[in-house]
Subunit: 688 residues, 2 copies
Amino acid sequence: MLNIFTKIIIVIALLATFLGTISSQEKDLNTLQTARRNLMPVPANVSWKNGRLPVTKTFAVAVAGKTDERLKSYIFRVMRRLEGRTIFEFSRDLSNDPANAQLLIETASTGNAIPQLGDDESYNLEITEKQAKLTAPTTVGAMRGLETFLQLLEGDAGGFYFPAVSVSDKPRFPWRGLMIDSARHFQPMEVLRRNLDAMAAVKLNVLHWHLTEDQGFRVETKKLPELHLQGSDGLFYTQTEIREIIKFAADRGIRVMPEFDMPGHATAWVVSHPEIASAPGPYQIERQPGIFDPTLDPTNEKTYKLLEVFFTEMSALFPDKYMHIGGDENEGKQWNANAKIQAFMKANNIKDNHALQTYFNKRLLKFLEKNGKIMMGWDEIFQPDLPKNVVIHSWRGQKALAEAAKQGYTGVLSNGYYIDLMFPASQHYVVDPLPADTTLTAEEQKRILGGEATMWSEWVSPETIDSRIWTRTAAIAERFWSPQAVNDVDDMYRRLEIISSQLEELGLTHRRNQDVLLRRLANNQNIFALQTLVGLIEPVKEYRRYQVRPQTMLSPLTGLIDAAQADAIGARRFNMFVKSVVTSNIEKQQAPALKALFNDWKGDGMRLKILIENAPALTEAKQLAPDLQSLGEIGLETVEFLQTGKTSSAEWRDAKLKSLAEIGKQKAGLEFQVVESMKLLVNATAGN
Amino acid sequence: MLNIFTKIIIVIALLATFLGTISSQEKDLNTLQTARRNLMPVPANVSWKNGRLPVTKTFAVAVAGKTDERLKSYIFRVMRRLEGRTIFEFSRDLSNDPANAQLLIETASTGNAIPQLGDDESYNLEITEKQAKLTAPTTVGAMRGLETFLQLLEGDAGGFYFPAVSVSDKPRFPWRGLMIDSARHFQPMEVLRRNLDAMAAVKLNVLHWHLTEDQGFRVETKKLPELHLQGSDGLFYTQTEIREIIKFAADRGIRVMPEFDMPGHATAWVVSHPEIASAPGPYQIERQPGIFDPTLDPTNEKTYKLLEVFFTEMSALFPDKYMHIGGDENEGKQWNANAKIQAFMKANNIKDNHALQTYFNKRLLKFLEKNGKIMMGWDEIFQPDLPKNVVIHSWRGQKALAEAAKQGYTGVLSNGYYIDLMFPASQHYVVDPLPADTTLTAEEQKRILGGEATMWSEWVSPETIDSRIWTRTAAIAERFWSPQAVNDVDDMYRRLEIISSQLEELGLTHRRNQDVLLRRLANNQNIFALQTLVGLIEPVKEYRRYQVRPQTMLSPLTGLIDAAQADAIGARRFNMFVKSVVTSNIEKQQAPALKALFNDWKGDGMRLKILIENAPALTEAKQLAPDLQSLGEIGLETVEFLQTGKTSSAEWRDAKLKSLAEIGKQKAGLEFQVVESMKLLVNATAGN
């Protein structure tokens, strides 16, 4: 139960790391902290000034230029957030006195009411001791500037204020997306609304909405209602709801691009229309994760007849110019096994399944073009013969994307941004859609439109989805918006914690729901020790979760693995601390702090054993309790050496490293993230 | 930052209190704990057996008798909650093998699809080692039984199980309500949905929906759209949404009774219709809390013309037989000042404003009766001449209610259940709609239909409303459902904590949102010390909040007063501990625990001072930091006496009691709840 010690000591350690006694990078960090304050994404150009614009209860906003209702509503919401933070009540009316308003917003034009790719999102923000002036060519630019403005709010004994600054900002890439998979696990309207709010807060501008999958068909169709009625378990978005989401997004400068995945990932389609599948069926909604056989039949005219009706209806429903047709992971098994399809290929000189899929895509392209849409698809659609006016969405990587760009295709990168795989933010952060060493020409570089974080939803519920997205996605948003040179990982984490936390004001649940899950798991017991544990463990990475702990799409996502998050904060801080201690050779000096920490781990491990005895939902993870205790015990032995300056024997170290290797193995799909640091400490006992 | 100590020590103390070393009530408490386990409301009859029904992943449910879609959906949701707690994935299909299903539900009839007053809500639940059998005369009875069933889930080293038991249950009162005021602060659909879920979980069966007020007109009217369009700031429920809520409630066995408050509390009405007010206007939506003058003109035929249109429309929209017309707090100022009204009274022999209001009510009654409705109103409508078929809703008290019952009126009690006033659950819990010493005859007693907790919304936002309702309302629900003899306050608190916490699985935010508010207030700083503070303070009671810390309906509700809750848990536990220590004369024995605790308070107080320096939104509460430190210091001095057995001087005690009196005064609308216990301790230093 003493995990507070953990936190305190780690906080102290962290402060030490940042504020001086340890790091040789002290000055640089300080510079970065000052320069970037709490801004995320970091603007293109920031020039700090002396002075501050105080925030008092008479804070007033005026507008000038072309102001539309979207901007007024945006200002209204921003002011409510400013109220929430300051507990002042501001006037709800715009000021009629622009010269004396504390915030003056001037937009040259309203821009497109429904956002489009390439909309001007730039803005300038000049804050003096008298006034903040935000100027932007469009409403959307002003929205982006308002978010920067809010992030600039600071407070101290003198009250709340905005620091004087001159910001000139625009995005590096025009396509900055978050893909939400509403198909594998349906996500209710409020999940989408709050995530759109969070997207706007970090300047993302595309909701890529993955709406059909083997596991569900989530969009209402009036023309072909059997599709959603038989393919969704009743969990679909009505067209009214979809229009509401599109408006909600547009009001935040966010495009909504739907994805209807085909010809593979199509089980939910063929539940009601087995006649357009490439094998006879019947089909049921898929409950497992993975890649499945059901594939639309590209040689059947009925397929196109149905798809034309469908795409015509969807083209009218979704105003965005881009429509994503998926195209991924079609393994062609049904095609290979179907004599009619094979005969068709022979008769039409279609040499392989890739070519057949290109044939299919070209047929689709006609429907889309007829409806004024631009087709987008995953890497696999990039085949010889593919028309140039198709956008490549790369899950394979920058090379594939660059190759497409060289051949004249525009593209968007998602490889490196698969947030469902539970990698740390640092790993996503260093992935650049257009790496510094690119060999693309300036012309080709323009074809790299940006990137998208992808929230595949095999293992997320409405209760946990925010915890998978917003622990890390603000860092990815920075990669898409900020200059390439903004790449300091430590400072990214410093700002990420603050900005992610601020998203809570928009209703995001990534922080608040963790304890809810722990309380439920604890079966009415005190969760202190469990909090210590969950701060040190993370779910297994990549696609290992299903391998080590199989579940279906209908399973409850309320296990310890669901409460655990990527970038476990206790582990991250411990690792930073140990790294700084070891690299600075100050083990002896920091031994008391480490000792207190390890005592906590040991004690919490012991307490967890008892807790788990009365919390059957944690039984699967019960080995983590003695493991935590062992980590504490190994740590205490290690500290004894470090504190006394005695060196350990090779045998002792071997034994400890062996134990740590065991502790490092996953249990219930969870891994301790402190094992490498513990090894460092153990090895440090060998002396210099 | 050491508030964990606080928690640990208090938890230890609490355990000690309950489990043995201290209390002379030990045996009784244990008996109660066993007898009532985690059930709330406690069923009418419970008989525990030996054995347990284990829960494994093959747990199956079968139904027999008359089963409707409502029941199937309810079972579906209960099974998902059982999955969430156990992390098993159960079959989503009902079993075809009733004899071997672990849960068999047999309903004799479906009952009313739209719940009505007096519906049979009884059920029987027999759990053996082989099967749980739930039988009920109606679907709603089965719903009630399913909630009891879920509350019975327990777990230990042997896994999850249901204890063998025989339950025979039915409600004490047929009317068990929660009033939600959606008018003063609009509450979005998801707030209503999650609160309806929570109501069903604790067997409440009436949502009394307060929809019009001086501060807002929240219901869409198709016939008179100016009412909601001009009276709501755009924050109203569409009729589609209202129908959705009615269905959502009906699916949980909950009636929805609307309230349209008149002739007072009517400002939002007369914004668009000043001609039916009793003074000329113009009117704006009211932004202040309180009682206001605008009152409908009961002498103007236009008033009735409009109201007839309105009530006819609303009667069709809301299927419940009861319609609440408010009627409270009409001070008659506009009536007194209006010569035409005075003349009307004279001409019609109406002797005073009460009589005029009765005249008004009788006119309304005609519209309601024409539409098949029964009128309900607050105490004030109970006047001579009031027809007997009107229900009295008492905010004045049991006496007023009993008086009405004697005269033949049915009634519902809300006095004593005003959860907006921030009283502890214990205070509400002891209020009985029909006290044990009632002088009513059996016939008259039947007229006391039940009670309603009232969530008046002057000071609640969607972010905080659950924290005002669900910290205490499960205890009130028990009062309305359980036998009168269920009245042990300590055991109520023990169960309340567990049951309130379980509501989180339904999306309720009363626990999770407190840290969100604290994090925002802390301005990106660590909230440990702030958590200690908020565990010891409560908002001022009754209507003092507005007096000491005025705000309007448009103010942000994100201050420390909004994060603080009634029944502050740290204070409650401290008080229990001190009481047991002092009454058992074991001050010396418990001195080390107290010392550690007071050290934390002192330290956290000091840390809070620094935190508040950088958190301007806490400036208003900054005196609470040195106060917390002083509490710790006074405590430490006290402990010194208690530990050594020395007695203190009268001067010393006077000085400390004086300091405590200062500390006990509200600051920023917040009061330390530990001051009385501290005084007890200080006085204990005087020796015996």
